[in-house]
Amino acid sequence: MLLSITGLSKSFPGTRALDNVTFNLEAGEVHALLGENGAGKSTLIKCLTGAYQRDAGEILLNGQAIHPRSTNEAQDLGIGTVYQEVNLLPNLSVAQNLLFGREPLRFGMTRGRAMRAEAEETLRTYGLDIDVTRDLGSYSVAVQQIVAIARAVQLSGKVLILDEPTASLDAEEVRMIFEVVRSLRDRGLGIIFVSHFLDQVFDLTDRLTVLRNGQHIVTERTSSVDRMQLIEHMLGHQLEEVEEKARSARGSEPDARPELLRFEGLGRRGDVEPFDLRVGQGEVIGLAGLLGSGRTESAEIMFGARAAQSGTARDADGAIAIDTPRNAIAAGFGFAPEDRKTDGIVADLSVRENIILALQASRGWARPIPRSEQKRLADMFIYRLDIRTSDAEKAVGALSGGNQQKVVLARWLAMNPRFLILDEPTRGIDVGAHAEILLLIQEMTAEGMSILVISSELDELIAISDRVIVVRDRRHVAELTGADIDRDTIVRSIAAPDAADGKAA
């Protein structure tokens, strides 16, 4: 065993990012590390590369316990990393990048010719015959990635971590990288491959490990797992209690709802292909799909946070403008984004100010909400959503993730929107708050609000949705209603076409 991790745990305030995780890597294998956002992949990698210090657990490299305290230390131990964004220096030459910090010297001066020769020789073993004196930035991202890999291997040479190295590459470039990775595997390196592209995982890797919510779910040989099982592992199975409640509550005739909104042909090249969507009054629409499938992009286009290149939105009274968030809000929309910290809360402002922010923005600056009214609204929502805070004047940044999410929800509820978009409303929050938010969604729709929920947790979607739209490869590929809303159908739609083909064959 080249690398062996046991009992690895790491907590951050409010979340347990890794919980007793096991992972092992053999020399001469490519091992995929999979999981949705927040599953703990990057925390695991950061513990390995020394960017984070683990709270508990053991990491053995060739049987020796290691405690890397920095990326440099990890490198010296033999663990190198290549990230999605090439983190080399584009304005230096390929050779300089490759040998940075270890340039061949004579009398304290670098030897240009020796450097060039060494760089050329190194890259030739990667099947790359390029002019190493040109700036790195003048080459394609694929070439830059290979240079980054070569550098990482030269510096460390035992374990190579590839963190989504193919995210911005086309098919031909991916093939180039894969060849390099395979040759490194044959040389005996252990390679950890992180990717959201399941095709690539099946194509390249020998084994795979799935993490979910900071926990180790499964490690298996890639060849013995099928795509549907894998998606099941990644999306998980939780919240049966809420599910039970909702199943009984789900209306039998979903089409009986009066139509509230209708989106036609909304799309934006590179983000999501044009899609149509009807929204019924008081309806919960679930948007299912893997990360990067175009689900968040769909939501952002509907809210005007991302400009649509085509399409219209209309309600009973005719066309409505949704080209900017301001217009969408004026049309009665609300949007609680996926990344609370960067897009949702205004951390240094108080709970009160965060809650009244959207309401104040829509009233305009000249008509401030009276302080007493602000206080009343804030206290009401703190009570109604059970926001755990010492008082309304506490800075939102000091609250836990679940309570921050409730503050963002309160901001929109204060607006009383008719259509509310919730992107991953329950990610990274504790179980109690999780169930509360789902119950809240049910309450709000009972009052006639329409809600669109994006979630990686299928059970959550199944529990609360009247209708589920499946997004795959930037297209809306399926619409499920009534009895069709179950795990198997959704997973099959997400996994298609391969899985469907497999079934037919």
Partner: protein
Amino acid sequence: MSRTLLRIAPQAITLVVLVALISVVFPGFLDISISDGRLVGPAIDILKRGASVALLAVGMTLVIATRGIDLSVGAIIAICGAIAAWGITNDYSLGTTLMMAVAAGLLAGLWNGTLVAVIGIQPIVATLILMTAGRGVAQLITEGRILTFSNDQFAYLGSGDLFGIPVPALLWPVTGVLFAIAMRRTALGLLIEAVGINRRASALAGINATLLLIAVYMASGFCAALAGIITTADIRGADANNAGLWLELDAILAVVIGGNSLMGGRFSIAASLLGAMIIQTIDTGILLAGFPSEYNLVIKAGLVIAILILQSPRLGATWTYWRYALFSRQRGGATQAVREGQE
């Protein structure tokens, strides 16, 4: 109200301590006498001379609250001063002249704001453009000369006095109060703070962040125009090379001494104004205290460093820690010893 007082307490205390220090070295520091129906004394002098920086600090506070910075205000002083001098020497009425100068300031702010908010250039770079180009513009207006005039009405704005107090010494508090009211009696202050802390989240909450950013730079341009008018009026002439020179740095310093974070967010105009007065008190105090003039800048730097270190949040945390440690040793020492014994 008590919140506001608590917010400006460090600056107020600093100012009082400074005044006390200077009074020790120069006993007549706080003396105010009346001559020819006007108040005279070092304190009045500080209120008047600090007017330009104080005015700039008002606008700069808002810009910095949005996580920006405006390096061009010194140059805008030169431009607006030049336009005012040009207008008055070309026999425009005083009202028209002042309106032209203010309009120029607003236009300069519109330029800065557009570069920052619409085109997306970093504020320090965007305003650097006008900082360097602005004096050139001013020189074109004055045709490279020091444009002097002899209009007593206009000069009154710089060197006249109302109820015995110099006009500039009245102008900056009035401007500051009006801006503070505009910020806190409307929602502007909250919206500016929100944009400064998290522009994207604010935009998603429906705040028109682009418009707000442009407005903030225009406010800064407006304040610089006022400063340009009083500077020109005071010396009865427009000096494109030297009017407002380096004042942008004093204005930024005033905002920082006022405890406003360069990272944007919460702001206090009152604290910035106290910061401006602290700077002017140091300047004037050093002269009065009779130090050789070559020591001025070094002493000023030393005092500023001392003030900033005293305000540092990290030091504050350390101070809290030590106070707690000393407190518990004196009072709670016995109980602590017992507890330790048990463990």
